[in-house]
Subunit: 332 residues, 2 copies
């Protein structure tokens, strides 16, 4: 079976991704060995962290090499299995990488319910949803009545954070780019307010207007000036969750650090980072809860589905240009 | 009784202190009312936070007004008392402010043991020592064997933090300005290593050399580039304690925020601020323990004693120019 693959050709350290960071090649799919499963990819999921993986920063996943198949999660259908838990036709998720066929140890795969929520396993029920769930609940430590502010609020993670915060009885302010995204947050997802940072000249005063007594939980996906302005609005004993920093990925030079970190003193605040993989043992319980919230209509999500494996690099780039609206997915 | 007083004449917001931020006046001491005590000041203690009090930043203490007697802690002797717990001759500590005589409610005073550690009540046994004790133990959460790094390590707070860390079985690296201070840290206080940031061109590589597996607790009194370089050296699950930011006090523009805050993600770190007054209920126990450590020779401290109330403003300025070596005190 012919197997098209995207290989890592260069490390985009400290600059934007470009087309020739990847090479498109064609080979043969490898038949599964003992304990392995051969999978045909149906969908790939995209996440800003993938750029960091190409750069080998962070050290929380195994390093990549130039020439490796580009790493990425996906959903596929089992073609052949030499693992007792999987049979042909099963739907699975795992690190399928950017290729038509993946041959992977069964222990690294999750068997999926083959229902209308299939692609949600790349978003709300996948790592994205888990990142929102554990980052917010374990590190944001929300209390009913808290005011919560989320940057990148219309993104796959941010939109989940805001909705989980509403379920927890919090008041939620989202920061997103553009009027359409802001309307969606308030009208469709039930956010209490949304700020369009592209239209807003004085973000900090606007946050202060909307949360005059300060914010109890700050969930940041963006970094840079937006994080700094949010830190200026801490309430007493605020919890700041550092989830990501999309503003840091594209620039040659990192954006300045947040000088308002000093508010942590006056407000007795905490700022925490986390890696969602540390909570893997608790994923099944969290997934079951998210699935129920989705069925009850308490959590909505959007998917931005591109198509064709040949478009994988361009699909990843959409994230850094803010072009996607909803979880970025590619139909292989 | 004639009472000389230093009044706040201007707010030094975003700039260095200067002489005419203060006015020296002379009036009469006020006799104590019911429940009050009249105290003659013996020593005043100095702390960087006093500049912030003049600026009314932070909001964690009552605001000051232009024309107020300059706020500051001190040690004095009771001259007259209308409070049952105090009698003439008692030694007390409290917010005596910059003046010869203070008239204060007895409930706001602490009666002191009149021993050879009298002035230590402004340093190791005072707010400075409490700041080191609670900031490090409650927010640094040290474990035996941890590597600890302290900035402003030769300062009144930093030097206590390092010595408490040694008592807790940690390995301690101090960052200080100048060879003399660095020698004192290692030779007299038992720090494992000291870095002279004034002589060191590449602070981050030097920290990395001294702690190749990273630092578990970062205790920062300085902010700016030094904080950023320390954040670059976090070990897994590092705790970052934000205690102060002396580098932030003098400049018209704040130093850039620490871009390495992002390491909190990869290292699953926490960064916390605190206000020591929140632990006031636990001061007696902490003081007793500090007193014992001092008597056992496990904690050493240095005092930099200036003299004459007329020199109070210049004595405060010494802190921001790094001129003091040891707790800055003024003999009234």
């Amino acid at each position: 079976m012919k197997n098209r693959q995207w290989l890592i050709a260069a490390r985009p350290l400290g600059r934007a991704l470009k087309d020739d960071d990847f090479t498109f090649v064609e080979g043969e799919a490898r038949q599964p060995g003992d304990g392995e499963v051969l999978i045909r990819a149906l969908y790939l999921g995209f996440d800003p962290a993938q750029k960091g993986w190409m750069e080998n920063i962070g050290g929380y996943v195994a390093p990549t090499e130039i020439g490796d198949v580009m790493r990425g999660s996906g959903i596929g259908e089992v073609v052949a299995s030499r693992h007792p838990d999987f049979k042909a036709g099963d739907k699975v998720s795992g690190m399928l990488c950017w290729q038509d066929y993946a041959t992977i140890a069964g222990r690294d795969l999750v068997k999926l319910e083959d229902d209308e929520l299939l692609t949600a396993n790349l978003g709300a029920l996948g790592t994205t949803g888990m990142t929102a769930y554990f980052g917010f609940l374990k590190h944001g430590r929300p209390q009913p009545g808290d005011t919560v502010i989320v940057s990148g609020a219309a993104g796959a993670t941010g939109s989940m954070v805001g909705q989980i915060a509403k379920i927890m009885g919090c008041r939620v302010i989202g920061i997103a780019g553009g009027a359409e995204k802001c309307r969606w947050l308030v009208d469709e997802l039930g956010f209490d307010a949304a700020i369009d940072y592209k239209a807003e000249k004085k973000l900090r005063s606007r946050i202060h207007e909307m949360a005059p007594r300060g914010v109890d939980v700050i969930y940041d996906n963006v970094g840079g000036a937006i994080l700094n302005d949010m830190l200026g609005a801490m309430a007493m004993h605020a919890r700041v969750v550092i989830c990501g920093g999309i503003s840091r990925y594209e620039t040659g030079q990192l954006p300045a650090g947040p000088e308002n970190y000093f508010n942590l003193i006056f407000m007795r605040g905490t700022m925490e980072g986390f890696i969602v993989l540390d909570y893997m043992g608790e994923y099944p319980k969290a997934r079951a809860r998210m699935r129920q919230w989705i069925r009850e209509g308490k959590i909505h999500f959007k998917e931005d589905v591109q198509s064709g494996l040949e478009n994988a690099p361009r699909t990843l780039m959409r994230l850094f240009q803010g072009q996607n609206f909803g979880k970025q997915i590619l139909k292989v």
